[in-house]
Amino acid sequence: MKLGFSPEDEAFRAEAADWLNAQMHGEFGDLKGLTGLTAAAERRKEWELKLGEDRWSVIGWPSQWGGRDATLAQQVIFAEEYARAGAPGRIAHMGVELAGPTILTFGTEQQKQRFLPGIASGKVLWCQGYSEPNAGSDLANVRTKARLDAATDEWVVDGQKIWTSLAQICDWIFVVARSEEGSKGPKGLTFLLMPLDQPGITIRPIRQINGAAEFNETFFDGARTASGNLVSTPGNGWQVAMGLLAFERGVSTLGQQMNFRNELDAIIAAARENGSAQDPLIRQRIAKAEIGLRLMRYGALRMLSHTDHARPDGAALTYKLQWASWRRSLGELAMDVLGQAGEVTDGEDYHFPMLPNLFLSARADTIYGGTNQIQRNIVAERALGLPREPRGSM
């Protein structure tokens, strides 16, 4: 067990920090400290291109595919330096962290050549098509249909996805759809890669409680994708999708934590500024938040140091509950620090600054990607071996 970094790693840290600071104090200074994912979309696309151009976008990938073969320690270091430099939340994260690793793991050689360069260079942005109006917590209840059209050698997709984050600015979507007529649950699902810009796909933004529209409804009406864009085999989509959820618990958690760090720092600064930092109760809550964030980091390092990635240990299953609950409390703390000043904002638009926005947006954290209640079932059943929930018959 060792937490310190080697001299080589420290040299890597210096290189990464220099590059990031040069960007955040130069060409991309306007993006410094930006959280959320919807503001300044065009500039953020340029930032993704810059990361790709200088090979900082997917450092953990093989160099053959635009990465740096970075070690675990180096990936940790980069995530830390990214946060320290105040670089913005990454709109390419679903390609970089989900679609890319899925293609690397399950994709054919042809698919790798076709899709990985676009992701690594920041030119092609991806979004995720899992949830449906009737397949939220019960994700396996997917009803969107896919059938192979032999005449054109294309998959044809009909149905509706919902909560498609950032679909309005993305280029491609990965979709889980039902390809076996009459199949139920996790059987008979197929994992497809589809271009978003086509007549068969309509995207409608959903306005959220914070006034922004990061999520969308995505309608598929005879939407098409070439048969070569099937990942794995027809009917094996659930296995691919679940493998992808494992990536979600990987290094990406450290990237997410860097945003949390910035949010907590903003709360600390606000508390000092308005004097609430002297309130013993606020101090206790800030200290608790600080402890929680640090433990998130070391929890992630434990997960990443766990050598058998094929069989993650049960502790990894607790991470979603941990961070989501932590951030929801952080939002409440932010408002208690700000007081009523947090409830008004400049301008006529219903658009609140970072901390009140955190308060609102964090209510989604304990819902998406498996609600806290579903997560507790998962922990209890898979990690603790308790009896599974009985299946209903409706």
Binding site: Q322, N377, V379
Partner: protein, 353 residues
């Protein structure tokens, strides 16, 4: 950077767990609770046969020269059984304090004896004593396993001494204590001969660090044990024609326990590593580990009673051993609120109003 046990550490963990699971049984612990809270036969075999008591002590004085990570592994395993042993007083605080701040002569005399179990040490911090030459007068409260000790490390914020049992003017009064596996004693000193330590500040720091890591690791082991035992009960107890562990109200509470425990695990080993590596993060890590692990243990032990129903409230069931140890850990060596206040200062919140 690799935040996982080395093969050697994994082996120590396995050995320690097997040893305490087999030997630190409820019967033996309860027998010790009826006396002074020390299972002497168990302490003897831990120190002599297992030979791990000096794991974090210098090799020159009978130790193995390893660090607090390895020590935490032992404390975690002992804590999982609420073993009635002077791990905290004798090793974590007295021996580690002496090793860092004692004179060469003090180390040569006491460290081998403490590591071999031949002598038991106890530490009293925040002593209300005054020194006059090499004599101490005053009182020291809440000395864990004090009535069993052969030697005392007594410290104020600025000075530290060794006092031997039987020293003139020393009265050791055993207290009937909530946690009978680690009863407190009250020391009264009247012109009692005391040997000052050569580096009091270093001794105090080492005793505190050792103590915090020890109780945090015990709390981790204890919390995990409450979860494991309650999961076992959830699977065997049938009500309404179902295993009670099939009810969401029940299993969600167990899931929440696990979420806290896994964070406590990160906290304990982060802190132990940070101290061993001399990291700048050591202070914040120690305060995090002590407060978080203690609160986790208390919550889990309380949940264990609730989730066992009536049987969990009986003297016969072990739930109360965990519950009482958890409470004692929460209040000793700085409350959770005190540790969090230290963190508030460390992260730049300035002073409280």
């Amino acid at each position: 950077m690799n935040f996982a046990f080395t093969d050697e550490q994994a082996m120590i963990a396995e050995t320690a767990k097997a040893f305490f699971d087999e030997n630190a049984t409820s019967e033996r612990t309860r027998a010790a609770m009826d006396k002074d809270g020390v299972d002497r036969a168990l302490w003897h075999s831990f120190c002599q046969e297992l030979g791990l008591a000096g794991i974090a002590l210098p090799e020159a004085h009978g130790g193995s020269g390893l660090g607090l990570v390895e020590f935490a592994i032992l404390a975690e395993a002992a804590g999982a059984q609420v073993a009635a042993l002077p791990m905290l007083g004798s090793l974590a605080m007295t021996a580690h304090g002496l090793a860092r701040g004692g004179s060469e002569a003090q180390k040569a005399v006491w460290l081998p004896k403490l590591a071999s179990g031949e002598a038991i040490g106890a530490t009293g911090l925040a002593a209300k004593v005054t020194a006059s030459g090499d004599r101490l007068s005053g009182t020291v409260d809440f000395v864990a396993h004090g009535a069993s000790a052969d030697v005392f490390l007594i410290a104020t914020d600025s000075a530290a001494w060794l006092v031997e049992r039987g020293a003139a003017g020393l009265i050791v009064a055993a207290c009937t204590t909530l946690d009978q596996t680690r009863p407190f004693a009250r020391l009264t000193l009247t012109d009692t001969p005391a040997e000052p330590l050569s580096d009091a500040a270093a001794a105090l720091r080492a005793a505190q660090e050792g103590g915090w890591i020890c109780v945090a690791a015990e709390a981790l082991g204890g919390a995990q044990a409450t979860l494991d035992r309650t999961v076992g009960y959830a699977q065997e107890r049938i009500q309404f024609g179902r295993q009670i562990g099939s009810f969401q109200a029940y299993k969600h509470r167990l899931a929440d326990m696990m979420v806290e425990i896994e964070q406590a695990r990160s906290a304990v080993y982060w802190a132990a590593c940070a101290v061993d590596e001399g990291s700048d993060e050591a202070p914040i890590a120690l305060h995090s580990a002590k407060s978080f692990a203690a609160d986790t243990y208390f919550r889990c032990a309380g949940d264990m009673i609730q989730l066992h129903g009536g049987i969990g409230f009986t003297w016969e069931h072990d739930a109360h051993l965990f519950f009482k140890r958890a409470k004692a850990i929460q209040s000793m060596l700085g409350t959770s609120a005190w540790h969090r206040e230290r963190i508030a200062q460390l992260i730049g919140l300035g002073d409280a109003a």
